[in-house]
């Protein structure tokens, strides 16, 4: 088991190297000159002297190989570089964005897990009932309504409309913003800012988790051991949850785990609509500006997070299914 974990952790190295090298190359292939985009605000021509000064500052006039070498040299010593656009250390930007993305992703996952699995189990138990059909429709809606549409609707319903009607403070939710004071990392004092983004971000994932749980539960319910358990006289609730759900959860856990890894970096739209100071939005903006240090630095963290979360997901299988012993090779 330990050997397995160590081997998986070592895999981080080639994955990070590969991802960043590809990204690095992309910055050179894709059209768009960061100096242009910085200095040429409103399409203004950049005079040579200005261009020279900026290029020298950032080593942009060096050949690719030299820039590549410099990039790794500083990254391996822990220096994530400086943003071309704002001249701020990438590490500062990371410190401001990563925790917020992580928090929002975790809360979205909590909703996905709790609501998604519960709804899925309920649908499976009461197959073809009214409840099942209603949830089918709602999950289809949640999965198909674009995230920004959902976001705008919520903003109007919970923010603008109440103001126009003159409702009291407690009946409204903020339209945009990131909480500033967090307790125990996950619990904001100004929690109203968390509600709408969390729900919007979780919408698609919850629908998927619910559908998948329902499907796998139905599959599992046909298994022999379920029949045996009932025949043994085990209470229905135990049959469903302990025997059924436990086995049905493996694919669902994979889904949720991958979604967590995904949500940290890919919540661009939710973060933009709700002005949530997160990584997805930061990376997207930086890509438009061809701000390579920011993109590379933040992606590095995302890749590592992704690999680690995947590892945790794999390790969790042993918890759900004792037959799966991670790392033990057949002798």
């Amino acid at each position: 088991m330990t050997g397995y974990v160590i081997r998986r952790l070592l895999l981080v190295i080639p994955v990070v190297w590969g991802a960043l090298t590809i990204l690095f190359i992309l910055f050179f292939i894709v059209p768009g000159d960061p100096v242009e985009l910085m200095a040429g605000a409103s399409g203004r021509a950049v005079p040579d002297a200005t261009r020279q000064a900026i290029e020298q500052q950032f080593g942009l006039d060096d050949p690719i190989i030299v820039q590549y070498g410099n990039f790794w040299k500083r990254t391996l010593t822990g220096d994530l570089g400086t943003s071309y656009a704002s001249r701020r250390p990438v590490a500062d930007i990371l410190k401001e964005t990563f925790p917020n993305s992580l928090r929002l992703a975790i809360w979205a996952i909590v909703i996905e897990t709790v609501v998604g699995i519960s709804v899925g189990v309920l649908s499976a138990i009461r197959r073809y009932s009214l409840a099942d059909n209603v949830t089918t429709v709602i999950t289809a809606l949640a999965a198909s309504i674009p995230v920004f549409v959902l976001g705008f609707i919520f903003q109007q319903v919970f923010g603008v409309f109440p103001n126009e009607q003159g409702w009291p403070e407690w009946a409204r939710l903020p339209v945009q913003g990131t909480p500033e004071h967090w307790n125990f990392f996950l619990f904001p004092s100004d929690w109203q800012y968390l509600i709408l983004p969390m729900i919007v971000l979780a919408s698609v994932g919850t629908a998927l988790v619910a559908r998948m749980t329902r499907t796998t539960m139905l599959e599992v319910s046909r298994a022999d051991y379920m029949r045996t358990a009932r025949a043994k006289g085990v209470k229905e609730r135990q049959v469903v949850l302990r025997h059924g759900l436990r086995n049905a959860l493996i694919p669902v856990v994979t889904l949720i785990g991958l979604d967590l890894a995904n949500l940290i970096g890919a919540a661009i739209i939710t973060e933009t609509v709700f002005n949530w100071r997160g990584m997805g939005r930061q990376i997207a903006t930086s890509i438009f500006r061809r701000d390579a240090p920011v993109v590379l630095g933040l992606t590095l963290v995302l890749v590592v997070a992704y690999v680690l979360i995947n590892l945790l997901v794999d390790l969790s299988y042993g918890f759900f299914d004792p037959r799966v012993r991670i790392g033990k090779e057949k002798s």
């Binding site: 409103s42 002297a49 705008f152 603008v160 996950l186 004092s189 933009t272 709700f274 002005n275």
Partner: protein, 559 residues
């Protein structure tokens, strides 16, 4: 059995903690988002929450030496007072001395600015001529590598500083005893006093020069001499908070004037529509009107608006070296100019929020006169058709359909579609050439322009700013996308620069502009307007200058 219970217990624990935390969370913290304004009394006082300036995202820089984008420069304009400043409150914009008491030059090359006595930065240090000299050395330096250091180009020796071959700008001399700042230019330029009204020429306190990395000045509290000051540093992507500077010397309003507001909280939003929804939800005092909602927003009876003209133009350039150029195709170009339905574009694409142009230079720039375009900016499809027919009769032909170039994903799709239709209506084949926005201008500069989308936002209200960049042959491969080269126009511009009399100088620029428009190298489409709204019963004296700066020092919050 135990394992299953564990998973449920874990979930229950999480939910329980969430409930407990929510209960303990209590009231909204009033520092930051969603703050409710205190009750201001009378004219002075009040804390304004601004959602319009940074509605479209965070600026890269607010240091006036670095801020190339207007929204960032707005902060610089509130924190710093420069040598001169334009007063737009009268009928005509008037250049007034701010930190400078007076200025003079005999030949337009050497300028002597006399600095007022007793001016101070908010940290108590004096504003001296050397405050300007050192600030300018810093702004032009290769160390700072500012995106806007090209604005120093008229000053002798500034380019050397940008290239890194000099540490000080040769042409600038500061005499702190006589309180004079002497500036020597590369060429005679009588509009220079207007040029230094730009925030990039702001003075800096000694604290700014003590930093080892000059780019980090804006990351902490910046000390300035303007109507507002910072009490806390820039909170990235969240807000920039300014408070009234009680030590302000009054700028162009006179000794003793102070800003009315206690503070301005510039909230930074990520998305324009969300920022406006936030304004509509009552969480802010100003809003920036999103595209397509102009008529609705300006028609709202509860809102006042700042939608006066701005110094910005949206136009198309015709590449004089392309198939559309040359004297033999003049009628064709005139037909294109007259055949474009600018009103339809304004109504359809901009919801009526722009102004129809009568030339390149808009009102608000001293020297503006109506009608520079002649008839060429007025839509007349019949006349355009006649011109096309005449041109064809004279033997005019096109090698290929007219290419309409534009940058994609930036809101121009509808405009070019209308233009394409307009051209087709008068018998001209046209095709759309959309390009990647990150590369668009670079490609156009290299000559890919045929009928290309362009624009200009004035750095300072001086005709030269746009006309030199767009019309002069020295700007080919630069901002002169039309590759327009007319020796007469070049001469007029260079003569204008060295003409001392304001009236004569402005006339020369007007003549240059008229000639370029007659040659149809440029097709103005519309002039920009402001797009700000605010609640009428709360906010008053809200004025946006044509330079798109809001005079927050005059804004009041009613009780």
């Amino acid at each position: 059995m135990r394992r299953q219970r564990r998973s449920f217990k874990f979930l229950a624990l999480i939910l329980g903690l969430a409930l407990v935390a929510a209960a303990c969370g209590g009231d909204d913290d009033d520092d930051g988002q969603g703050a409710t304004e205190e009750q201001p009394s009378g004219e002075a006082g009040g804390d304004l929450v601004d959602l319009q300036n940074f509605a479209q995202g965070e600026p890269d820089h607010i240091d006036p030496a670095l801020a190339g984008v207007l929204q960032g420069a707005q902060i610089g304009a509130l924190l710093y007072d420069g040598l001169t400043e334009f007063d737009f409150s009268g009928d005509e914009p008037e250049l007034k001395g701010q930190v400078a008491e007076k200025w003079e030059s005999d030949d337009g090359i050497t300028w002597v600015f006399t600095i007022k006595d007793g001016q101070k930065f908010s940290d108590g240090t004096d504003v001296l001529p050397s405050s300007f000299k050192k600030a300018w050395d810093r702004a032009a330096s290769d160390e700072l590598a500012s995106e806007i250091n090209y604005l120093y180009a008229p000053i002798k020796g500034a380019t050397a500083v940008t290239e890194g071959t000099a540490d000080e700008i040769e042409g600038v001399t500061a005499d702190d005893d006589a309180m004079t700042l002497t500036v020597e230019l590369e060429y005679p330029f009588f509009d220079f006093p207007a040029v230094v009204s730009h925030p990039v020429f702001s003075p800096m306190p000694d604290a700014a020069f003590e930093l080892s990395d000059p780019t980090q000045w804006e990351q902490d509290v910046m000390v300035g001499n303007g109507p507002f000051k910072q009490d806390e540093p820039w909170e990235h992507e969240v807000a920039i908070k300014l408070v009234r500077n009680d030590d302000w010397s009054g700028g162009i309003y006179g000794e003793g004037t102070k800003a009315k507001l206690d503070s301005v909280d510039f909230r930074i939003s990520a998305d324009l529509d969300s920022a406006f929804a936030d304004f509509e939800a009552g969480n802010g005092d100003t809003g920036y009107i999103p595209a397509g909602r102009f008529a609705e927003a300006t028609g709202n009876p509860d809102w006042g608006n700042a939608t006066e003209g701005n110094l910005g133009i949206y136009h198309f350039g015709i590449n004089t070296e392309s198939q559309l150029g040359g004297d033999e195709n003049l009628k064709l170009r005139e037909a294109i100019a007259i055949g474009i339905d600018r009103e339809a574009i304004n109504e359809t694409v901009y919801d009526g929020s722009r102004r129809l142009p009568t030339g390149i230079t808009p009102p608000g720039v001293p020297g503006y006169e109506d009608g520079a375009c002649g008839d060429l900016c007025t839509y007349d499809a019949a006349k355009a058709q006649d011109l096309v027919d005449e041109w064809k009769a004279d033997g005019g032909t096109l090698d290929h359909p007219i290419k309409i170039n534009f940058n994609t994903g930036s809101g121009h799709e509808e405009v070019v579609a209308i233009i394409q239709q307009n051209l087709q209506d008068i018998g001209l084949e046209a095709e759309l050439d959309g390009r990647d926005p990150t590369n668009y201008f670079a490609e156009m500069r290299q000559g890919a322009c045929e009928l290309c989308r362009a624009g200009w936002i004035w750095d300072y209200p001086v005709q030269d700013n746009a006309l030199y960049a767009l019309l002069d042959s020295a700007s080919i491969d630069g901002d002169n996308l039309s590759r327009y080269s007319n020796a007469d126009v070049d001469d007029m511009i260079s003569e204008a620069r060295s003409t001392e009399d304001d009236g004569d100088r402005q006339q020369l620029y007007r003549d240059a502009e008229a000639q370029a428009l007659k040659d149809v190298a440029y097709i103005p489409i519309n002039w920009y307007n402001g797009q700000i709204v605010y609640p009428k019963d709360k906010v008053d004296n809200f004025v946006q200058t044509p330079l798109q700066f809001v005079l927050y020092e005059n804004v009041t919050l009613a009780s």
